[in-house]
């Protein structure tokens, strides 16, 4: 096996400047970096050869000085993805499987989430030219995420306007997942993982039941992950092009503006870029990337400033207020503390999959620990650091841990898990192997590798099969669908009817003819948005219907108007049973109680 053959080369070879002996260096004579092959038996020499630091050790070799380095030094194998047929075939086949698994039944599972409805509704507002939200945009998140969703869903919604509701528009996330999956393969190859390990990373990323569930949903994190993977790919660009690194900074800034929590990953990106840039051009490349990232990132406060909404003040929202709110969200407790909110979120992840979150984290730690000896570990330092950083942030005892937090970690967990597998395989097959090793020993090595692979598969595959089977067959959204249909069918005059709905149903209500804003009301706006409260002078009596979904019932505790509306209403239709049921309740305004 060639577990780390490609990695047994110099991540930052200083080959170019020392090439002075190779031929004419003056400008018109172009030199093809990929054409040079290592002269010696360099590759495969072992995981332990410390070539990764060679270029840093030999400083001061500025071109003119002769013979800085032996010409037999390790060269970088170029990963020519686009012209490599095996890579394309493997990646294409995996992509097909991932798209099928993630796409099949995606409207019915998992259950529609409130956040999906929020983002899609705001994307809808952008499409309608109503600004960044159909209610006052209050700097809760940078708006770039749903601006992208608006762009993604714009064309389909043009042809079939009714599709602009949460379930059908999950298909737009399928495109994002597919792009991310391809990017993770490319990134793995650019980090010199062998082909099988790159495929493994892509498979882990795309087929883990946890990924399947979360990547189907319209979450900003999924878009942010795509941009961050692009940033990593560009940072590890094999041509080490200045503008690729610059583009990496731009992509990173886009990722952060899509989902601000991506900030945590930036140091890991920097590490990747540092390792993959060349000593002679590094200062330009890295500074350029940081500048690009900072300048694009600053456009958000600039936007707020231009709107006079940067600083808090009476009578308007502000960026500072938004940040203050996000930072002061009540903590959800320590993640390992049973009974805390964070622990519940954590266990919900583990319910879908333990392999990727726990195995990946173990892999990341393994790679960081073996940093000194393993070339693979050094090549993967960036993703490993990203996984660890995200884990550390999740461990904050006082922080708030959202359910989708793990989405950002998934690609890095998948990468480091695949890399750890590659590293272990390499150690089993190649470590301390002499040239004339006995045949029996070679067989033993292969047998051990085979046993490891089979037992890993035996552990993972049944669990994932179960998880993915649920994702492909379960129908969690029947109550929502039927409630939406009921609203469209049974309410006589939707244009003049006012209904409190949760975010997931809001666009359905709008498509049924309820007036967006005053007619179809995000339920919590009835209490929290002064602009909406103003239109409800008589409180719950100005409301005709409440669609009582689990979210509404959960949050109504803190929302007096919603609570009153629930109390002074009777269910006219009920879909589903138990906790997850959805009731459509008509308020008793005529009874005037």
């Amino acid at each position: 096996m060639t577990a780390t053959v490609p990695t047994a080369t110099d991540p930052q070879p200083a080959d170019a400047p020392t090439d002075a002996t190779a031929g004419p260096q003056l400008l018109p004579v172009r030199q093809l970096p990929g054409s040079r092959r290592p002269a010696g038996p360099g590759p495969g020499a072992g995981d332990g050869s410390d070539v990764g630091d060679a270029s840093d050790a030999s400083d001061g070799g500025d071109g003119g000085s002769p013979g800085v380095r032996p010409s037999a030094g390790p060269a970088r194998p170029m990963v020519r993805f686009r012209s490599s047929r095996p890579d394309l075939l493997l990646c294409g086949a995996l992509l097909l499987v991932i798209v099928l698994v993630q796409g099949w039944n995606l409207t019915d599972f998992p259950a529609l989430s409130d956040d999906e409805g929020t983002y899609l509704a705001q994307a809808w507002a952008v499409q309608q030219g109503e600004g960044l939200a159909h209610y006052t945009y209050w700097y809760d998140h940078p708006p770039l995420g749903w601006i992208q969703i608006a762009a993604l869903t714009w064309l389909p919604s043009l042809f079939v306007p009714d599709w602009m509701t949460v379930a059908p528009m999950r298909f737009s996330m399928l495109a994002v997942s597919a792009a991310s999956a391809v990017l993770i393969y490319v990134l793995a190859r650019r980090l010199w993982l062998p082909r099988w390990a790159a495929g493994l990373a892509m498979g882990l990323f795309g087929l883990s039941p946890l990924s399947v569930v979360l990547q189907r949903e319209i979450f900003l994190d999924n878009l942010a992950v795509m941009w961050m993977l692009l940033a990593f790919c560009l940072a590890a660009s094999p041509s080490r092009h200045l503008w690729h690194h610059f583009g990496s900074g731009l992509a990173a800034a886009t990722a952060v503006l899509t989902k601000e929590t991506m900030l945590v990953v930036l140091p890991a990106l920097l590490v990747t870029m540092w390792r993959h840039s060349h000593r002679d051009t590094r200062k330009f490349a890295v500074t350029g990337a940081i500048t690009a990232c900072a300048l694009i990132g600053l456009s958000y406060p600039l936007y707020a400033l231009l709107n006079n909404e940067l600083l808090p003040g009476a009578g308007h929202v502000s960026l500072i207020d938004g940040i203050t709110y996000q930072m002061s969200r009540p903590g959800s407790g320590f993640i390992l503390d049973p009974g805390s909110g964070s622990n519940g979120v954590f266990r919900s992840w583990l319910y879908y999959d333990t392999v990727l979150p726990l195995g990946g984290l173990a892999g990341a730690v393994l790679l960081l620990v073996t940093h000194r000896w393993s070339v693979t570990a050094r090549a993967l330092a960036g993703p490993a650091l990203a996984a660890v950083l995200l884990a550390v942030v999740a461990m904050r005892p006082s922080g708030y841990l959202p359910a989708m937090y793990v989405i950002q970690a998934l690609p890095f967990l998948a990468l480091v898990l695949a890399a750890a597998a590659a590293s272990v395989t390499h150690a089993v097959l190649r470590r301390r192997r002499g040239p004339g090793e006995r045949r029996a020993l070679v067989y033993a090595r292969w047998a051990l590798a085979g046993v490891l692979a089979v037992s890993a598969a035996a552990y993972v595959l049944p669990r994932w099969y179960e998880g993915d089977r649920t994702a492909l067959t379960a129908d969690a959204n029947a109550p929502y669908r039927r409630a939406a249909a009921w609203l469209g069918r049974e309410v006589p005059d939707p244009a003049h009817t006012r209904v409190l709905v949760d975010d997931a149903l809001w666009l359905d209500a709008v498509h049924s003819g309820f007036a967006p804003g005053p007619g179809a009301i995000w339920f919590y706006k009835a209490d929290l948005d002064p602009a909406v409260t103003k239109t409800l002078p008589r409180g719950w009596r100005d409301i005709d219907y409440v669609v009582s979904s689990p979210t509404v019932r959960r949050d109504a505790v803190d929302l007096p108007t919603v609570k009153a509306a629930l109390e002074h209403s009777t269910a006219v239709a009920v879909f589903g049973t138990g906790e997850d049921r959805i009731e459509i309740r008509r308020t008793d305004r005529e009874s005037g109680s």
């Binding site: 400047p17 031929g23 003056l26 071109g63 060349h278 002679d280 350029g288 936007y303």
Partner: protein, 437 residues
């Protein structure tokens, strides 16, 4: 302001912003050419010579009122390790002091140094060079200025470059070194750094190149075929490059920090302004001569057009960017439009950052200590330098418009050369020694 007015303002501002953005972005893209990839950077250097000096060099050294520095320059040239070269010092018939220095040098090394006297009534550099051209015996004609410090290994490297690449022209690096003399010399040094270190290589690659004034080497028969230098052009070096590359001659550029010709910035801001005016006017003249229109590629012609107009676009954008910015901030335009107006500003800031990194790299390459205050000067001086550039551009257009070109300005040039030379010897002599390690 009515809706129509607002829309009009928005459209105009966006159009200007996008235009400025693209100008600045292209300039930045080209300025950073050498650092695109490590391979590109490596390819900008001289190849190591193979030891066989096979070409004969004729080095032209026009000197006018340069008695103070000329001797040193000739001595330095005589240290060259190359086997086969001659130095032709060109002095004016009206300049006995310089002539005396030159004759003394010729007497000291008769097999190497010759003196040619330029009898033209009005003098300028191209005339001096053309006067010497018939006297050249070598295969290669090289041009240096009287105050240049030339590296002893340079000729061997150039020799090898000619033979290894089959080039018709080799342009070596020229670098202003005294970045700590004043705020403008800092920027001036950096301009040279980006130009010779980076941008010129792009021009060589694209097949359109305005050559530099010295450390330029041309095959003698190519130069004679082209009729030497244009005596009426204020930027005869640029013009020669444009003419040669327009007829498909191969130009090769190499930059090695060890091997560059070191120079000093003009001694005062005024002489810098005058020098820049002369260059700009020269660029305008080259543009109007239309030799560049023979370039075969459309892209090449656009590069030529753009490059020759750069001083004027630079001046214009230096003025328009702040105005545009102010308009966006103070007029009531939609936020989206305001964001667009920041695009050129963003490019300008990226350029700034790369200049800072460039200054660091410059210090590293030349073993010079760049202090924090220099970075500060670089940033603070930026806008003022823009004003100077804009002034020079306007001045150039004005002079060209009124037909005030060669004679009037040449005498100016002579004066400024003298000042620059004197300044170099008196005030900055220690700097030179220092810079030279």
């Amino acid at each position: 302001m009515s809706v129509g007015d607002g829309l009009f303002t928005s459209v105009v501002i966006s159009a200007i912003s996008f235009a400025l953005f693209w100008v600045a972005a292209f300039t930045l893209w080209w300025q950073m050419h050498a650092w695109r990839t490590p391979e590109t950077l490596a390819s900008t250097r001289f190849d190591r010579p193979d030891g066989g000096d096979r070409l004969a060099f004729s080095l032209l050294l026009p000197a006018r009122h340069e008695q103070a520095v000329l001797e040193h320059t000739i001595d330095r040239l005589l240290e060259s390790s190359h086997a086969d070269y001659e130095i032709i010092v060109i002095v004016g018939h009206d300049d006995p002091e310089t002539a005396a220095v030159a004759e003394r040098a010729a007497a000291g090394a008769p097999e190497r140094v010759r003196v040619v006297v330029d009898h033209n009534e009005t003098k300028n550099k191209p005339k001096a060079l053309n006067t010497a051209l018939p006297h050249c015996r070598g295969d290669i004609v090289g041009v240096f200025d009287a105050e240049d410090q030339v590296h002893p290994e340079l000729l061997s490297h150039v020799d090898h470059a000619f033979r290894a690449t089959g080039a018709d022209v080799v342009q070596g690096g020229v670098q202003l070194i005294n970045f700590h003399s004043s705020w403008y010399s800092l920027r001036n040094c950096l301009e040279y750094f980006f130009w010779f270190r980076s941008r010129l290589h792009l021009h060589a690659e694209k097949g359109f190149i305005p050559l530099g004034g010295n450390t330029v080497f041309v095959r003698t028969e190519v130069l004679r075929e082209a009729g030497g230098w244009d005596q009426n052009c204020l930027a005869e070096d640029c013009d020669l490059g444009v003419r040669l590359s327009s007829v498909g001659k191969k130009v090769v550029v190499a930059y090695d920090s060890d091997m560059v010709t070191r120079e000093e910035t003009p001694g005062s801001l005024m002489s810098l302004l005058k020098q820049r005016t002369r260059w700009n006017q020269g660029f305008l003249q080259v543009y109007r001569k239309k030799d560049w229109q023979q370039l075969p590629g459309r892209g090449q012609r656009w590069l030529a057009r753009y490059t020759l107009m750069t001083p004027f676009m630079q001046a214009a954008s230096g003025v328009i960017i702040p105005v545009n910015f102010a308009v966006a901030v103070f007029l009531d335009v939609p936020v989206g439009i305001a964001i667009i107006t920041f695009l050129p500003m963003i490019t300008a800031m990226v350029t700034f950052v790369f200049e800072i990194v460039g200054l660091h790299d410059f210090g590293r390459q030349y073993g010079l200590r760049v202090r924090f205050v220099h970075y500060l000067k670089l940033i603070v001086g930026g806008p003022f330098y823009q004003v100077m550039l804009a002034g020079a551009a306007i001045r150039a257009v004005w002079r060209e418009q009124r037909g005030r070109n060669e004679w009037e300005l040449t005498s100016h040039t002579g004066a400024h050369l003298q000042t620059a030379g004197a300044g170099a010897t008196h005030s900055s002599a220690p700097i030179r020694e220092d810079a030279h390690r």
